[in-house]
């Protein structure tokens, strides 16, 4: 199991489009991926779950991946967060 803290860099936060990108990235991997904000945990492969986190600018999320390709999954998500979801 792998854990990493990611920060949301884009100003608008996670709205529909970034959420779709996260889900697209997450579903490429077979491992189980969860996002945690405060004490709420959602499945990274569910778009409604991610949107309902209500994660705004500068929010810190903990991503947890569990499975064979966990390292690749976390790396891919980290790249996505660093790219500010291709916004700005």
């Amino acid at each position: 199991m792998l854990q990493k803290e990611l920060t949301i860099r884009n100003r608008a936060g996670i709205h529909a489009r970034p959420a779709a990108l996260i889900v697209q990235t997450a579903t490429k991997f077979a491992c189980k991926i969860n996002f945690q904000k405060d004490n709420e945990t959602v499945n990274a492969k569910s778009i409604m779950g991610i949107i309902t986190l209500g994660a705004g600018h500068n929010t810190k999320l903990t991503v947890t991946a569990d499975g064979e390709d966990e390292q690749e999954a976390v790396d891919a998500l980290e790249r996505l967060f660093e790219s500010r979801f291709e916004e700005e």
């Binding site: 529909a16 579903t27 405060d38 004490n39 709420e40 945990t41 959602v42 499945n43 492969k45 569910s46 778009i47 409604m48 779950g49 949107i51 309902t52 209500g54």
Partner: protein
């Protein structure tokens, strides 16, 4: 669990016989205080200066009696006990019957940074409602990934890995006239120790669903208000999983399987999914079967009972045939010496 503050108490969206009708009349800086215990205190004893066993962090409820005593203290210009009360850790003060406390009280509450709230309800009624509301807030809770639908009056929680078709199954159930409670993130609370109440984890977002290929859709607007519900008891958990050839699935259903959520055992079914299998119909049938079980009728067990009864009666019948065969055999043995005429008569019977 997130902190529950006095402000959250004011924001609780409760309706009709649950409404608290609260408003803040003083000590606004105390609105951010946290309410940590779901308990009330009538501060009568504290007002007369008796603080032994005074429970900290409680909500202080002022009814007509306490209010009259406050007025008496005001007339006597004796605020010592009141000051002492506010020095203790209290979460907030609430006046019932729309009673407005004297200005001196509000001043002290402002200074102590404790919010003073007011309601138009009677004291007993309000106490009942707030205890109910707080026990809901402080109930053990968990957010589960799944869809909660009401099917024939049974709250069915559909769970399973992403992409297995939970939302699609729920959508067809809604289309067949059942109701959506929550999609994706279902917040489950354990109320009074043995009842699980499920609701959407985010009420502000309403009843939306994500369907692959369609995107996000608004269920209320498409199917109408009849297709939604705010909360529902979780009475059956259905887990969808991709059909696994090597796995043994329940073929009889005579034994009750349960899944534990927050310490409560809920009836549980595993339904294998494969193309061409109509999952919504299976869920509908499971819900109706669950209702039958609640009425004390277990399809699989009753079926088995009738099979057993049938086998028994067959056995009883066979007994006659066996006796008859024995008789015949005996006659045949005898017939070796006394002729076979008797045996042939019995056979003609």
């Amino acid at each position: 669990m997130k902190k529950f503050t006095v402000l959250d108490l004011l924001d609780l969206d409760l309706k009709e016989h649950n409404a608290l009708n609260l408003k803040c009349i003083g000590g606004r800086s105390g609105l951010t205080r946290e309410i940590t215990v779901p308990d009330l205190n009538r501060p009568g004893l504290a007002l007369v200066g008796f603080f032994e066993n005074f429970g900290p962090n409680r909500i202080q409820l002022f009814g007509r009696g306490e209010y009259a005593y406050l007025l008496k203290l005001e007339r006597e210009d004796n605020q010592e006990n009141l000051e002492e009360l506010f020095n203790r850790e209290i979460s907030c003060c609430i006046f019932t019957h729309t009673l407005a406390p004297p200005d001196a009280f509000l001043e002290i509450s402002e200074r102590a940074r404790v919010a003073t709230l007011q309601t138009d309800l009677g004291t007993s009624e309000f106490a009942e409602r707030i205890i109910r509301a707080l026990s809901n807030v402080f109930a053990p809770q968990e957010v589960m990934h799944g869809v909660l639908v009401e099917v024939f009056g049974i709250g069915v929680l559909i769970v399973g890995d992403s992409g297995v078709g939970k939302s699609e199954a729920a959508l067809e159930l809604i289309e067949r006239g059942h109701r959506l409670v929550a999609d994706d993130a279902v917040e489950i609370r354990c109320v009074s120790g043995n009842i699980l109440i499920g609701a959407g984890a985010h009420k502000t977002l309403g009843h939306h669903m994500e369907i692959r290929g369609l995107g996000i859709i608004n269920i209320t607007h498409i199917f109408g208000v009849g297709a939604i519900r705010d909360n529902k008891q979780v009475q059956l958990v259905v887990e969808l999983e991709l059909w696994d050839q090597n796995k043994v699935y329940d073929r009889i259903g005579a034994e009750d399987r349960t899944k534990e959520i927050l310490g409560v055992h809920v009836p549980y079914l595993q339904i294998p999914v494969k193309p061409g299998r109509n999952v919504p119909i299976i869920i509908e049938t499971a819900a109706m079967n669950e209702r039958l079980k609640k009425m004390g009728y277990y399809s699989a067990r009753e079926f088995n009972q009738s099979v057993l009864k049938w086998l028994e009666s067959e056995n009883a019948r066979n007994l006659y045939f066996e006796k008859r065969r024995e008789l015949l055999e005996r006659e045949q043995q005898k017939g070796g010496s006394a002729g076979s005429s008797n045996a042939s008569i019995i056979e003609a019977d």
